[in-house]
Amino acid sequence: MVFKHEQLLGKSRFRSSYDAVIIGGGLHGLATAYYLAKDHGINNVAVIEKRYIGFGGAGRNTAIVRANQRTQENLPLYQEALKLWPLLTRELDFNLMFYNCGNLNLAHSDAAIKSLRLNVSSAQFHGIDSRLLDAKECKTLVPALDISDRPRYPIFGGMYHPPGGIVRHDAVVWGLARGCIKHGVHIHQNTEVTDIGVKNGKVEFIETTRGKIKTEKVLNAAGAYSAALAYQMLDIRMPISVLTIQAMVTQPLKPLMDHVVSSGAYHVYANQTLKGEIATGSHMDPWPNYTTQNTAYYIKHQAEALTELFPCLKGAKFMRIWGGLADMTPDMAPIIDGNDPVEGYFVDCGWGYFGFKSSAVTGKYMARFMATGQCPAILKPFTRQRFEKHRLMGETAALVEFSPNN
């Protein structure tokens, strides 16, 4: 069984004009480019990436996918996203390695159970499989859990969401890139967008480190850099704080955890990758910054938290930690918008640390938005203007303060 190595990343000529330009070679950018070409026949498209594809959040996340969000504005998008992975695997002819192991979200108080019940009820109302388990059922599902009274936050129960799991993040990046190339999209790595030219309220061109590109449509999908880019180039302000989020893996182990397990009280989530590493992460550093530096505190905290939930993991070793950037909005929901206030300017950002789960489906609808000029209903709740109207979405119950000015 031998296959030919085909190019995942073609070398494209740099054109001076494209029908659409995508800023950012991450998952959202690549997915949008892919669907523009595939679904809408717009293949004179360039993806402009400052470093290399998948450099940012696309390659730094912990690859968890699920559809058990809190609000009905979010649920349908994530629900469709979850169904898309197997379809996309077939369509791209690239194994995205969707591992449908299910997610268990632990609760450590009655208040947390209440909060999970809202999610579970909302999911069930939308026909999504999600249910509440008591502590014993959690233990049956995940035998390594300590459900005794010993931990500082004893386990009260959990939200079990069987359709979720993990997807190989690099595979999605490369699969989409290959799909883009196949459909004639150009991917320009090591190229930085330096300006967006606007005339009479319309996008006219962009400037890059490799020259000017004439285009009428631009998507800002620059992840953590989106807000700065929008502000510097178009004077558009977005309520986004950029924070470092860290994740890490243990040395590879034989199968030990068969689910994605997370806990809000302990600020931890963990799953075992196909390679056998326990991948874990959770909260963000509490101060905004644009570095991906690690902190001594974080890895120690993670060890403390994990070994509380899973005492056996005291015998595992952390092997590697890394950092990524999360572009957080005050309501932990993304900003997806277009033609406002500049015609031809679209934006898909503010995903914080959930950008992976719905990347492909968002790209699909974003492509429709860019191709038709009509915002698909599923994306409408995410407009930038909701912040000006003080109409936050309720993706988390808790008030979010990334910095005191949020």
């Binding site: 109302f125 490369w174 056998g276 001594a296 008030l399 303060e401 005191p404 000015n405």
Partner: protein, 973 residues
């Protein structure tokens, strides 16, 4: 095997035997042995099977650069036996084998390598779709290295310490020791960290000459003694540095020795200056089957003999690219190993003396020759050496192949410390450039090789570090700098990478079974940057942290893909530098919860404690969690609640009022003397973030309370929102200085009266009043008359040190009325019956003050205050389509209340239940919910969808709140 324990360099104690069990057999070694050296001495050559191809793997390095010798010890998987001291009674198991390491059933995987090129997973197993779930199961089983049982219990203890120091030196070799000594002589406090159990580094095991007839080994002893005796130097042995963070925060872990009460301890150091003197690793030599058991690095072979008294084999071929290789060959020959030949990939540049010594021993020496291939399946049988151009080849049967391409500085920690590394054409090293402030490097990692150069470079670094710590070094630095300039500089390094004639199994990364062919495959799919290649081939992502591929990968990429003039660039190294047990990171894992002053009383009264934020609080006072009696006591008699977790603050100074006006939505200008003012704080979206009461205790002197959750953030909040104003006020957090007792119930006054001489009659102390009283004529307390639970109640703010006393007094004076405790759950129902909200329970990030029906708290006529959230409150005042807080009562009075978090639906979700309970007081199931405004009018029917209801909805009607005592008469008695 007979051990060479008489060697002066040997670290085993032949008097103390150690036995460990491996594969059911007991093996003998000595104290001082590592698990790997003990097994090797007993003839074990295959330690593990590789991750992907299940190839046999043996001892290759001795400092854990790869996972070849990782094994499970006493149930803990993936331990590096080459750095784990052998302890009597250990049970060691091989990993990732089906059968035994020698006969592994999955060894067959090696034959399918053609089917497993780089990235093969992405192209396989997904067609047809039904195949994938089955393949997945198989892949999971095959993947992973060691086994950790889900019921594994770590039996030993762990510890953590946080020392501070002037200078931290990483590396206890000649450079590090010289650094430490030089700095200590300047008066600095120094921490010296060494990963091995002894100091000495590259000098430790070598009998080669130093100066004046001394050997390097003897010199190591001298330096080590000086360091140990120096009072300014604290030495950490067997301590591996794993992370370096900004401002010289260094994390490490120390392996406990015999007298230590811990197995390992986490060490987090803060240092003013940092010197990295970690020396060099060997750069692996790439050739076909370069990881067969029997192939090992020069240092490994040499130290095996010199440190552990084990000859690596009967005979060996040496293929090397640096003088240490020649030195080792000579020394091992002298120790009794047959050296069949020495091949050196350098055409010239060798130390002439060493070459002469080889000649003296009749050891054939081949300049410009390298290993091209190893023959043998489970052990080295023969090696094919070749000229570097590949024109001539020769097969030499042998037992051991000692191989290394060259040296490479151990820059991993510098990379972690965010140093820039740049390729140096002379040494072939990635050398640090632009080191961060107060970070220095010294010794071999800068390319030095001559023993004196190493030491003097160390000395210079020590003086630089002293200067960095603001110590004056009186021109000494310049002197030493000049001295260093006269000594031999870094020698020319070997740049040899690709073998002559490419093989199929040339491993660039052992841990991930990544071959040169895999790297080429990555090139062919379009990945040309080392970081992307790393991701695509996984090279360098294994437990060895790039110790094996770290240098070869960028060099190979550079030679294969970059224009001739472009320097290669190294890949990122990430912490931890060495894998660390989670147990070690967790350390003592102390529980940091806060306790109120009456914590123990709460427990002795039967309180069931739960974590609430950082606190522990009593939720129930009955084992069965029934709270009926607690509620009845409050409603009909009297009960007390420990509310000490409330935030308490003093705000005073000329501009105190302005600050209050900024953050509170209410008007604070006229708080009457002896009165409390209830108010709320909002964020910029007008959402409720806090509520509490404010009292004015004097001119410009306020005392206010916040919710428990906000106590921690209040000072920051107020400071932040007044940061541009330059106002003069003081803000003091008194949360821990005062305990709070809520004395509630119709008999509360009687109880209080008996404890104080002050007049607490309704006339003297009306509802919403504030008084400062003395309890039993002695203890000053601040008392507020409030009514959160809907009854007459006094909130006593008691100096924390008096809390227990006052608590007991009230219990005593309350006896006639059967006073008892009530907990949080009782309070939850009591306040719900009264329609009072708890932030976070009836509010969330979307709910404004208006949405909660608390809009009346907003004083709109103070624009000059620029109150936080005022603009949003104005904007959202009449906004349609928002969620509003309503009370509801179940339609069927017999039906149980819906569980909290159930949703309210029609064809869409319209809201959710915040709190609902059966109320004994009202004999009804009532609750509060956030619902869309159009469903918020009284008597509106709400359809409730609870999880697992199978479509069977329950119904409630919106009801007027408060449910209990709507006129508020009970508060005013």
């Amino acid at each position: 095997m007979k051990r060479l324990s008489q060697l002066p360099t040997c670290r085993i104690d032949p008097e103390k035997k150690v036995f460990i069990t491996y594969r059911g057999k007991s093996y003998q070694g000595y104290e001082g042995d590592t698990v790997a050296s003990l097994l090797y001495a007993n003839g074990i050559r295959i330690f593990s099977r590789s991750l992907k191809y299940h190839r046999p793997r043996g001892l290759y390095s001795l400092d854990g650069e790869c996972s070849n010798t990782t094994m499970a010890i006493d149930g803990i998987p993936n331990l590096r036996t080459e750095t784990t001291p052998a302890r009597h009674g250990m049970t060691v198991k091989a990993q990732n084998v089906v059968g035994s390491p020698e006969f592994d059933l999955l060894g067959i995987m090696d034959r399918f390598s053609r089917a497993m090129p780089a990235g093969f997973f992405y192209h396989m197993f997904h067609k047809p779709p039904s195949l994938w779930p089955l393949a997945l199961k198989r892949i999971r089983k095959i993947a992973g290295l060691g086994t950790l049982r889900h019921d594994f219990v770590m039996q030993v203890r762990f510890d953590e310490i946080y020392p501070h120091t002037d200078l931290c030196v990483i590396g206890g070799g000649p450079a590090g020791m010289s650094t430490a000594l030089a700095a200590a002589d300047q008066g600095l406090q120094v921490i010296l960290i060494e990963a091995r159990p002894w100091l000495g580094g590259i000098f430790d095991y070598r009998p080669a000459k130093y100066l004046d007839g001394f050997s390097l080994h003897e010199r190591a002893g001298v330096l080590s003694q000086r360091v140990t005796e120096n009072k300014n130097i604290r030495v950490f042995l067997q301590t591996a540095v794993v992370g370096i963070y900004p401002d010289n925060q260094i994390t490490a872990f120390q392996v406990g020795g015999r007298p230590d009460a811990y197995k390992e301890r986490y060490v987090e150091i803060r240092a003013k200056s940092l010197v990295v003197a970690t020396g060099c690793l060997e750069r692996p030599l790439l050739f076909e089957n370069n990881e067969r058991p029997g192939v090992m690095q020069v240092g490994c072979a040499h130290r095996l003999a010199r440190t552990w008294g084990i000859l690596p084999g009967k005979n060996a071929v040496f293929c090397t690219g640096h003088d240490l290789g020649l030195e080792a060959a000579i020394d091992l020959f002298d120790l009794g190993m047959e050296v069949l030949c020495v091949a050196d990939n350098r055409e010239d540049g060798q130390d002439a003396e060493l070459v002469a010594e080889l000649k003296k021993r009749n050891i054939p020496f081949y300049r410009g020759w390298v290993a091209a291939k190893v023959k043998g399946k489970k052990a080295v049988k023969a090696v094919t050496i070749s000229t570097v151009s590949g024109t001539r080849r020769r097969d030499i049967p042998c037992e051991v192949l000692v191989a290394s391409a060259g040296l490479t500085p151990a820059t991993g920690l510098l990379s972690i410390a965010q140093c820039k590394l740049s390729y140096d054409n002379h040494t072939g090293f990635f050398l640090p450039v632009n080191l961060p402030e107060r970070v220095y490097a010294s010794g071999r990692m800068l390319g030095f090789h001559h023993p004196l150069s190493i030491e003097i470079s160390g000395r210079l670094a020590g003086l630089n570090a002293a200067a960095g710590c603001k110590e004056t070094t009186n021109g000494l630095r310049k002197e030493v700098e000049e001295q260093l300039a006269t000594l031999p500089g870094p020698p020319l390094g070997s740049k040899w990478v690709s073998p002559p004639g490419k093989g199929k199994k040339v491993f660039i990364c052992f841990d991930e079974d990544a071959t040169l062919q895999n790297i080429d495959q990555a090139f062919s799919v379009g990945f040309e940057m080392p970081e992307l290649i790393k991701r695509f081939t996984a090279a360098g992502t294994g437990p060895g942290q790039g110790g094996i591929p770290g240098h070869n990968l960028p060099l190979y990429v550079g030679q294969s893909r970059l224009p001739a003039d472009d320097p290669p660039s190294p890949t990122t190294v990430r912490p931890p530098m060495v894998p660390v047990l989670l147990a070690t990171y967790a350390g003592k894992n102390l529980d940091m919860s806060k306790r109120t002053p009456v914590h123990d009383l709460q427990i002795s009264s039967g309180g069931k404690m739960e974590r609430v934020g950082g606190w522990r609080r009593a939720r129930y006072f009955s084992p069965d969690k029934s709270i009926r009696e607690e509620i009845e006591a409050v409603r009909t008699s009297v009960a007390i609640l420990d509310a000490s977790t409330l935030g308490k603050f003093r705000l005073h100074g000329p501009d105190a009022l302005k600050a209050l006006q900024r953050v509170y939505v209410g008007d604070m200008t006229n708080i009457a003397e002896g009165k409390v003012k209830y108010s709320a704080m909002c964020n910029d979206d007008g959402c409720l973030i806090d509520d509490g009461v404010v009292v004015q205790r004097g001119k410009n002197d306020y005392f206010f309370t916040t919710s428990t959750a906000r106590a921690g953030g209040t000072i920051e909040w107020i400071r932040f929102h007044t940061r541009y104003d330059g106002w003069d006020f003081h803000l003091v957090n008194l949360t821990d200085a005062f305990g709070v007792i809520n004395l509630a119930g119709p008999k509360a006054r009687e109880v209080l009266e008996r404890a104080t001489d002050s007049d607490v009659s309704p006339e003297a102390f009306p509802y919403a009043g504030y008084r400062e009283l003395l309890i039993l004529n002695t203890i000053p307390v601040r008392v507020m008359r409030l009514g959160f639970v809907g009854e007459l109640s006094f909130e006593l703010h008691v100096p924390a040190s008096y809390m227990i006393t006052v608590w007991k007094i009230l219990e005593e004076t309350g006896k006639p009325w059967g006073i008892r405790n009530f907990g949080l759950e009782a309070q939850n129902i009591l306040r719900m019956e009264k329609g009072h909200v708890i932030i976070g329970s009836e509010s969330e990030q979307r709910t404004t003050l208006h949405d909660l029906g608390l809009g009346f708290l907003w004083h709109r006529n103070k624009p000059e205050a620029k109150t936080v959230g005022a603009a949003a409150l104005k904007h959202t005042e009449n906004q349609k389509g928002r969620l509003k807080l309503v009370g509801f009562e179940m339609e069927d009075s017999a039906s149980a209340p819906p569980r909290d978090g159930s949703i309210i639906v029609d064809e869409k979700i319209r809201g959710y239940v915040c709190t609902a309970r059966y109320s004994h007081t009202l004999n009804a199931s009532v609750g509060m919910a956030l619902v869309e405004d159009r469903l918020s009018s009284i008597s509106e029917r709400l359809a409730i969808f609870e999880d697992d209801c199978n479509g069977k909805l329950t119904y409630a009607r919106v009801a007027r709140m408060p449910f209990y005592d709507p006129e508020g008469a009970r508060l005013k008695i």
